[in-house]
C-alpha cells in the first residue's frame, strides 16, 4: 500500500470488504483508515464516534476508486452550444479498459474540441481522441495510447441493483485537480431511472464531476456520472439539475456491455420501434395500437391497428410507460422482442430497432366520405388525379372494409390510412349500387402541399338564408371577450370548429357573421373568436384560453375530430401556432392569415394521427422558409401568396381558398 504501483495493481475498488458486510465492515474500514494518512483528529473518542467512522469509510472508498479517475482538458472548439456558453474548464473521465479506454460525459465534450488531453494516474499528460459517442446515455468513449499500466474501474454487481437504493455512495471528479479526486457524498435515491437507463443519487452531481464514477463504500463503481435528463433526450438538458438534489449515473455494467460496439467506433443512439399508440398518455393502458409508423421496425414486424402490446423485452406491459421503460435502455441496432394480443391470440414479434423513423407525412387517398342508410361509408367526392381516382373509385360507391377489417366507424379507416405504407396498397371492399362487393386496391400517397380536390356537397337540410346564432363564450377569470357562430342543425350533425385569434383589438361579431355565416351553415362549422384582453397586444397567458374554448365547444356540441382548426389574423397567427403546438393531439389544422413567420421555428416532427395541416396566407417572402421547414418535418403545408391581406379586415382574406382548405381537411 505504500507505493503507488502496488496500489494500482489492486485495481480501483477491491472487494476485500465485500465479504464482511454490514456494520463490521464499516468499523473495519475505519480501523484500516486510521493507519494511513488521516486528518489530524484526536483518537476517536466517544463523541461523534459513528460520524467519524462513517467519514473514514467514505474517504477509504474514495481513495480506492480515485486512481481510475482522470482529468480531461480540452482545447478550442465551440464557444456556444444551443445558444448557451460552454465552459472550457477541465472535466473528468473514468478508466474502463487497461489499454487506455476512458469513459467521459458527452456534456463535457459537446463543444467538439480540437484537442483533448488526459492526465493519467502516473501524472503524465497524453493526447486522447473520441472513439465513439453514446447519445442514448450522454457518454463518450476516449482512447489514449500509453505504456503506463492503468487501473480500471471495478463494477458493482448490477444484478443486485435493487439493493443499492439507500446505500451510501461517493461521487468522484477530477475537474479541480488531476491528482486528488473531489468527493461528494449521498445515497442512491433510485435505480432504473430515466426510462431504465440510470441510477439516481442525492450526492451533488454537476459539471464538476460528470464523467467520474459513483462508487459504493467498497470503492466499486455503480455508474458513471452523466448529464442525462429524466424525461427527454435533449442533449445537455440534464445539467440544469445540478442544484436540485437529483443526479444520475449510468450503470457501469451497462456501459461495459456496450463497450465492444463503442470501441469499434460505433455511435449509439436510442432505439426506435415506431409503434403508434392510440392514446399518447404515458399512464394509459392497455397499450392498444393505432398502428406502426410507416417504414419502422414495428411496421416490418407486422404490427396492425388494434393490436394490444402485452409484453416487451420479457416484461409485462400494462401502461404505455412500461413499453417506454422497456425501450429506454435499448439502442439502435438492438433486437427487440415484444408480444401483442390480436383477436384473443398472443403473437410474438421482434425487430431490429433503428435510430430514426423516417419523417412522417400524412397519407392521402383523395376521398370525401359520409354516412349512408346502406351498409358502409358512402363516397361523396373523388379528387381528380388522386390515388382513389386512379384506382377507379367513384362517388356513390360504398366502402365496407379495409384490409379485411369491417369498418364500424370512420376513425378506424382514418387510423388505417394514417399508417399505410407508400408501397403496399390498401385493400378496400367496395360496393356499387348495382353490383356485388369487389376488392379495390389503392396505393396511398403523401398529402398534397397544394390546394386540391373538390368541395363536398353542402348539407341539403340547410335552406338558403338560414342563419347562424351568435353566442357568448364564458372564459372564466380572463377578461377577454369571446363569441361563436353556431350553425343551424347544430344538434343533428358533427361540426367543425374554427377558432380564430384576431389582431389585437376587437374583431366585431357582425363582421365575422357577414364573412362566415354562409359557409358555417352549409358545411356545419362553429366559428369562434377570442379577442385579446389588451387592445394592443396578446400575452402568453391568453394561449390557455384556446383550451378552454375547445373544451366548452366539445361539451356543448358533437365535433368532428378531423375538423378542429386554429387560425390567426396577423399577430394572432403566432398565438394560434403556439396554442396548437400545446395540444397537437386535438388540432388538425392551423391557418395563419397575414402573419409574418420569418422567425418561426418548428421543432416537433409530424406523427400519424396527430398530423397537423398548415395553411399560410400572406406575402410569399415571409412564408417561404417556414413553409419549407414545416414540409421538411412532414407537415402538409400550403402557401397562398397574398399581398393584399389586411389582418384587421375579414373582407380582405381569400375566403374561398380558406373554406376549400378547411373542408379538405376531413378528406381521406
Amino acid at each position: 500500500m505504500n507505493s503507488k504501483k502496488s496500489y494500482f495493481l489492486i485495481r480501483c475498488g477491491g472487494t476485500r470488504c465485500g465479504l464482511l458486510g454490514g456494520l463490521l465492515c464499516l468499523l473495519f474500514v475505519g480501523s484500516a483508515g486510521a493507519q494511513s494518512n488521516q486528518p489530524p483528529t484526536e483518537a476517536a473518542g466517544p463523541p461523534l464516534d459513528l460520524s467519524a467512522r462513517e467519514e473514514r469509510g467514505f474517504q477509504e472508498a474514495a481513495r480506492r476508486a480515485a486512481a481510475c479517475v482522470v482529468q480531461i482538458e480540452t482545447f478550442g472548439g465551440l464557444d456556444r452550444v444551443d445558444e448557451k456558453r460552454v465552459a472550457d474548464g477541465p472535466t473528468t473521465g473514468t478508466i474502463v479498459g487497461a489499454e487506455g479506454w476512458i469513459i467521459s460525459s458527452l456534456f463535457s465534450l459537446r463543444q467538439q474540441p480540437a484537442s483533448i488531453l488526459v492526465t493519467l494516474p502516473g501524472g503524465s499528460r497524453v493526447p486522447a481522441r473520441i472513439v465513439a459517442r453514446d447519445f442514448n446515455r450522454e457518454l463518450a468513449l476516449l482512447k489514449v495510447e500509453t505504456d503506463e499500466e492503468l487501473p480500471v474501474a471495478q463494477p458493482a454487481d448490477e444484478a443486485n441493483a435493487a439493493g443499492w437504493v439507500g446505500q451510501w455512495v461517493v461521487a468522484l471528479g477530477k475537474t479541480y485537480s488531476a491528482e486528488s479526486a473531489s468527493q461528494s457524498i449521498g445515497i442512491v435515491s433510485a435505480v432504473g431511472r430515466a426510462y431504465d437507463r440510470a441510477v439516481q443519487t442525492d450526492a451533488k452531481i454537476s459539471p464538476l464531476n460528470y464523467g467520474g464514477p459513483l462508487v459504493d463504500l467498497q470503492g466499486r463503481t455503480l455508474g458513471i456520472l452523466a448529464a442525462i435528463s429524466p424525461g427527454s433526450f435533449v442533449e445537455g438538458d440534464g445539467s440544469q439539475l445540478y442544484d436540485s438534489g437529483i443526479g444520475f449515473a449510468i450503470p457501469l455494467t451497462d456501459i461495459l456491455e456496450r463497450l465492444p460496439r463503442l470501441q469499434r467506433g460505433e455511435d449509439l443512439l436510442s432505439g426506435q420501434l415506431g409503434v403508434v399508440a392510440e392514446q399518447q398518455n404515458e399512464l394509459a393502458g392497455p397499450v392498444r395500437l393505432a398502428g406502426a409508423m410507416p417504414g419502422s421496425p414495428a411496421a416490418r414486424a407486422g404490427v396492425r391497428p388494434g393490436d394490444i402490446v402485452v409484453e416487451a423485452a420479457g416484461r409485462p406491459v400494462r401502461l404505455l410507460a412500461d413499453l417506454r421503460h422497456a425501450l429506454g435502455p435499448r439502442d439502435a441496432g438492438d433486437k427487440f422482442e415484444f408480444r401483442v394480443l390480436r383477436d384473443g391470440q398472443r403473437i410474438d414479434m421482434s425487430g431490429e430497432l433503428i435510430a430514426e423513423i423516417p419523417t412522417y407525412q400524412r397519407r392521402y387517398l383523395g376521398l370525401h366520405l359520409g354516412a349512408s342508410e346502406q351498409a358502409g361509408w358512402k363516397i361523396l367526392t373523388v379528387d381528380a388525379d388522386s390515388p382513389a381516382q386512379q384506382s377507379g373509385l367513384q362517388a356513390g360507391q360504398h366502402i365496407l372494409a379495409c384490409n379485411d377489417q369491417p369498418l364500424n366507424d370512420l376513425q378506424q379507416l382514418r387510423r388505417q390510412i394514417a399508417v399505410a405504407e407508400l408501397d403496399i396498397p390498401l385493400r378496400l371492399q367496395v360496393q356499387s349500387d348495382d353490383t356485388s362487393a369487389e376488392q379495390i386496391e389503392v396505393l396511398a400517397k403523401t398529402w398534397p402541399n397544394e390546394l386540391a380536390g373538390s368541395l363536398p356537397p353542402a348539407d341539403p337540410r340547410v335552406e338558403d338564408g338560414q342563419q347562424v346564432t351568435i353566442v357568448d363564450i364564458n372564459v372564466g377569470d380572463f377578461s377577454n371577450q369571446a363569441y361563436a357562430l353556431i350553425p343551424p342543425l347544430a344538434d343533428e350533425r358533427e361540426l367543425g370548429l374554427l377558432l380564430v385569434f384576431p389582431e389585437p383589438g376587437e374583431l366585431a361579431r357582425d363582421k365575422t357573421q357577414q364573412q362566415w355565416s354562409s359557409f358555417a351553415s352549409k358545411f356545419g362549422w362553429i366559428v369562434a373568436v377570442i379577442n385579446s384582453a389588451n387592445p394592443r397586444r396578446w400575452s402568453a397567458e391568453e394561449i390557455e384560453l384556446a383550451g378552454r374554448v375547445v373544451g366548452r365547444m366539445e361539451k356543448g356540441y358533437s365535433l368532428d375530430p378531423a375538423k378542429i382548426v386554429f387560425a390567426g389574423l396577423g399577430v394572432g397567427g403566432r398565438i394560434a401556432l403556439v396554442a396548437a403546438s400545446t395540444r397537437p393531439e386535438k388540432i388538425r389544422g392551423v391557418a395563419t392569415l397575414g402573419t409574418d413567420l420569418r422567425r418561426f421555428q418548428s421543432r416537433r416532427p409530424n406523427t400519424p394521427l396527430k398530423s397537423v395541416d398548415f395553411l399560410l396566407v400572406g406575402p410569399e417572402d415571409q412564408l417561404r422558409e417556414p413553409a419549407a421547414q414545416l414540409i421538411d418535418q412532414g407537415y402538409a403545408t400550403i402557401v397562398v401568396p397574398d399581398t393584399g391581406l389586411q389582418p384587421q379586415k375579414w373582407e380582405t382574406v381569400p375566403q374561398s381558398k380558406i373554406e376549400f382548405w378547411l373542408e379538405g381537411l376531413a378528406r381521406f
Binding site: P47, S51, E55, F58, G76, A114, P127, S182, P207, L208
Partner: protein, 338 residues
C-alpha cells in the same frame, strides 16, 4: 495484496473480539447537536446598507476575539456607519469596520461590547477532502432577533484555487478555497463559518460566485490559513493595500516577434494551430512546425488563439518560453529562446 488481506482479517478478529462501543445513552456520547449549539453562539447576523436594486442588506459573520471583533466579507452591506450585529443569544451589537483586506475581500468589525463566545483563531485547522463539515450562516436572512443561524451539513468536496477568467463574473480573491457539496453559498450566507464536525473553524463562506471553469454556481469557503495574516494585520491597526494586477511585460513578445502565423481566427475559440513558421525565426530555430497545435504556454492552458495572444502580453521578449504542443498524436515540449 494477500498479506494486506491477512492483516485485515487479523484486525477484524481483534475488533470483533473487543466489546465495541456500548449502546450508550446518547447524551453521554456527545453529538452533532452539542457541537452545533456551542458553535452557533459564535456567529452573528449582520445588518447594514442595501436593500435596493437587488442588493442584500444583510450577511453573516462570526466573533474572533473576546473583545467582540467580528470577521465577515467586505461588501456593500458594510457601507454604513452603524452596522448592527445580532447574536443568537439575542444580544445586539453596534459594529463598525475596523479594517479590510481588499484582496481577500474580508473585513474585521469592532463592536461596543465583548463577545460571550468566539472562535479562537489559534485553534483553527486545515481540513482534508472527504471530511464532513458544518456551515453556519444566515442564508436568505431567514433568522432574525435571537433566532439561531442556519446550520447545514456537507462534505468537503475538493480543495482548489479560484480561477479568474475574462468576460465573466470574476472574483477578486483568486487563492485556495474549500469546495463544499452542500448548498451553502446563497444570499446572506457570505461571512458565515465553515467548521468540522467538532466545531473547529476551517474557513469563512465567500460571496456567491459562478465558477468560470464549469459555468455553475459553486459553494465554497476561504480557508482560515489564507485569512490569518490579514486578520492579524487589521487587528494590529495596519492597513492593507490592494495588490497590483498581474503586470504586462514592458516589452511584451508577440506571435510575429516569435515568427508564428496561426490559422485564420474565425471562431470565438479558434484553436491555436500553427499555419506557418517564418524561416529563421525564434520559433523556427526551436523546431515549431506548421500544423502544430499550441496547448500550453509555460504552465498556462491555451484554449484558443485569443487566449494565446493575451498570454503573450505577460511575457517579455527576452524571456524563455516553454510551449507544450501537439503534433499529430504526440505531445512535444518546445523551448523558444532568443
Amino acid at each position: 495484496m494477500r498479506s494486506t488481506a491477512t492483516v485485515y482479517m487479523w484486525l477484524l478478529l481483534v475488533t470483533s473480539g473487543l466489546p465495541i462501543a456500548p449502546a450508550a445513552d446518547p447524551s453521554s456520547v456527545g453529538s452533532v447537536n452539542s457541537v452545533v449549539v456551542s458553535t452557533e453562539l459564535k456567529t452573528v447576523k449582520l445588518y447594514g446598507a442595501g436593500g435596493i436594486s437587488g442588493l442584500d442588506a444583510y450577511q453573516s459573520g462570526f466573533f474572533i476575539s473576546e473583545e467582540g471583533h467580528i470577521l465577515t466579507v467586505w461588501s456593500t452591506v458594510l457601507d454604513i456607519d452603524d452596522i448592527v450585529a445580532v447574536s443568537s443569544d439575542g444580544n445586539r451589537y453596534q459594529a463598525q469596520v475596523l479594517g479590510i483586506d481588499p484582496n481577500l475581500e474580508i473585513a474585521v468589525l469592532e463592536t461596543d461590547r465583548p463577545a460571550t463566545s468566539y472562535f479562537d483563531l489559534r485553534q483553527t485547522r486545515t481540513a482534508e477532502v472527504g471530511e464532513r463539515v458544518l456551515a453556519l450562516s444566515n442564508l436568505f436572512g431567514i433568522a432574525t432577533g435571537n433566532e439561531m443561524s442556519s446550520v447545514q451539513k456537507g462534505v468537503l468536496m475538493a480543495k482548489t484555487e479560484l480561477k479568474a477568467r475574462r468576460g465573466t463574473i470574476e472574483s477578486v480573491y483568486q487563492g485556495p478555497v474549500y469546495i463544499v457539496d452542500a448548498m451553502t453559498n446563497n444570499p446572506g450566507a457570505a461571512g458565515g463559518a465553515l467548521t468540522d464536525f467538532r466545531g473547529r473553524l476551517l474557513g469563512m463562506l465567500g460571496k456567491e460566485l459562478r465558477d468560470t471553469g464549469s459555468n455553475i454556481w459553486i459553494n465554497y469557503a476561504i480557508p482560515m490559513a489564507e485569512l490569518q495574516e490579514s486578520i492579524d494585520r487589521i487587528l494590529a491597526g495596519k492597513s492593507i493595500a490592494r495588490n497590483e494586477e498581474r503586470p504586462t511585460a514592458d516589452r511584451p513578445t508577440s506571435l510575429s516577434a516569435l515568427g508564428i502565423v496561426l490559422i485564420p481566427n474565425i471562431l470565438a475559440k479558434t484553436p491555436a494551430f500553427v499555419d506557418l513558421v517564418q524561416p529563421g525565426s525564434t520559433a523556427d530555430r526551436a523546431g515549431l512546425q506548421s500544423d502544430d497545435l499550441i496547448l500550453f504556454v509555460n504552465s498556462t492552458r491555451i484554449t484558443s488563439q485569443d487566449a494565446l495572444r493575451s498570454e503573450l502580453n505577460f511575457i517579455d521578449r527576452a524571456d524563455e518560453i516553454v510551449l507544450l504542443i501537439q503534433r499529430n498524436n504526440e505531445l512535444k515540449e518546445i523551448v523558444l529562446s532568443n
